[in-house]
Amino acid sequence: MKLLPVLRVSAFLACLIPLARLLWLGFHDGLGANPIEFITRSTGTWTLTFLLATLAITPLRRLSGWPWPIRLRRMLGLFAFFYACLHFTTYIWLDQFFDLSGIYRDILKRPFITIGFSSFLLLIPLAATSTQAMMRRLGGRNWQRLHRLVYLVAIGGVVHYWWLVKKDVTQPAIYAAVLALLLGYRLWFHFFSSSPLFFRKR
């Protein structure tokens, strides 16, 4: 069946929509009065969205029993990294304009930047070991252990957003709630995995 390649190609293209939208708005004077803030916010929230989408794969697979979601997980994770790179580049380039001492001070002094930067750093090894070859080299168990860092990254990302808003935490609270659900499901599954209620582990 040729469904999988079609699925993967369409998912890939769909994942590029946020970037395409930013470019389109950028060329059509659509980024508002503070374009740099707009780009920063947009790439940031899409990073979180892709992180959450990546974390939704396992619960989706277990609850539905479908095998195909797992085939999209690496792509979603890499897109999270891609948007995180855009977000970080926007900060370094457009926002700070390579003012290294300013960036250094920000990272040390501003808790929301400290945690955002740390989460970004933690994503790098995950992206770097995302290939089949790296998976084989590390061995499944080690690879899985390393990739559990994504939980920390997602928590850090949400906290980064939460700490940065001035007062209205509605948006970060939505991401936090979804993340809590996804992580809560894992805890529940971990402790009650013998339950035959849902599709069984392996």
Binding site: G32, A33, N34, I36, E37, L94, D95, Q96, F97, G102, R105, D106, K109, R110, P111, F112, W163, L164, K166, K167, D168, T170
Partner: protein, 314 residues
């Protein structure tokens, strides 16, 4: 003394806008006029076209910096009564009814009074004042306001000896202000100044911008503009001006006492607890520029704070 006056930027800007707006007014007034003729009672508030305000004089307090375009000034607003996104107010504030409107000046005064906004507009000649506006979030604009010094109204009310502070209360009406249905801030919005700050000639009671009555999203029908303080100190859509003995507790102090102080003077040396205030992005510019103490109005206002530790009284 040499007073440098670079070639005027402003008149040309305003002339162009007149032509530009003339077209819109013409188009917009046609259905309006027809509707008004059919149902005069419904159209007592002419909010469909921006009304011009007479400029009696230009102000020596004006900056010669390039003014931020009208579009940005009226579409990028922090006005939590209409939502917390900066693009919200331009849409949501259309529900705000600004005429009739009354403002009461009360408290520790010998002559309290309730003004209608029309009466208030005739209280003193309207000046154009082009001020820098620095938001606590780290962006800034240059805005040609129209108004007169707040002192005009305060001195007419004759503050008593115990008047030490001035409290500004904004409209509280969740039907007109949808953002007030959320508890993001305690309502109504309250701000405050020390009496000497309020009486300072720079402190402006603004009724318009770019030669027209204030758009609703900018704090219509009247707002405060305190250019040496972060933008949130400049209360919008004011209904009450109270002279009081004790420092008023502002909406932002109530919401986050550790992050917002009573004075909130623009100060690059005192960071917001969560972000730096050393630099700002002027809307329309790419690179950030350094933030100036008192937003560049130090010559006029620094003496108000002589001897005060501005890190402590942030």
């Amino acid at each position: 003394m040499l007073i440098k006056r670079p070639s005027d930027i402003l008149p040309s800007e305003i002339t162009e806008r007149k032509i530009y707006l003339g077209r819109r007014q013409f188009l917009q007034s046609m259905p309006g006029a027809v509707a008004a003729a059919l149902a005069p009672g419904l159209f007592a508030t002419p909010t469909f076209a921006a009304e011009k305000l007479p400029i009696s004089r230009k102000s020596p307090f004006s900056t010669t910096e390039q003014a931020t375009p009208h579009k940005e000034v009226t579409t990028y607003n922090n006005f939590y009564e209409f939502g917390t996104d900066k693009s919200d107010p331009a849409q949501a504030a259309k529900t705000l009814i600004t005429r009739p409107w009354t403002v009461s000046i009360e408290g520790e005064v010998k002559r309290p009074k309730v003004y209608g906004v029309e009466e208030l507009l005739r209280l003193a000649p309207l000046e154009e004042r082009i001020y820098r506006l620095r938001c606590v979030e780290g962006w800034s604009m240059v805005i040609p306001w129209l108004g007169f010094s707040l002192s005009e109204i305060i001195h007419r009310a004759e503050p008593t000896g115990s008047a030490k502070y001035v409290e500004f209360v904004s409209l509280h009406d969740p039907r007109q202000m949808p953002g007030q249905r959320s508890g993001v801030l305690g309502w109504p919005y309250v701000e405050g100044l020390r009496l000497d700050e309020a009486m300072h000639p720079l402190t402006l009671l603004a009724f318009g911008l770019y030669g027209e009555v204030l758009p609703q999203q900018n704090g219509a029908p009247l707002r405060l503009v305190v250019p040496w303080k972060y933008g949130f100190k400049s209360a919008k859509s004011i209904v009450k001006i109270r002279l009081v003995e004790k420092p008023p507790v502002s909406a932002w102090i109530r919401a986050a006492p550790g992050e917002y102080g009573f004075f909130s003077n623009v100060n690059p040396a005192v960071d917001h607890p969560r972000w730096s205030q050393a630099r700002e992005r002027r809307i329309g510019e790419f690179l950030k520029r350094p933030t100036l103490p008192f937003n560049g109005y130090g010559d006029q206002v620094a003496r108000l704070y002589a001897g005060m530790d501005l890190k402590k009284f942030f």
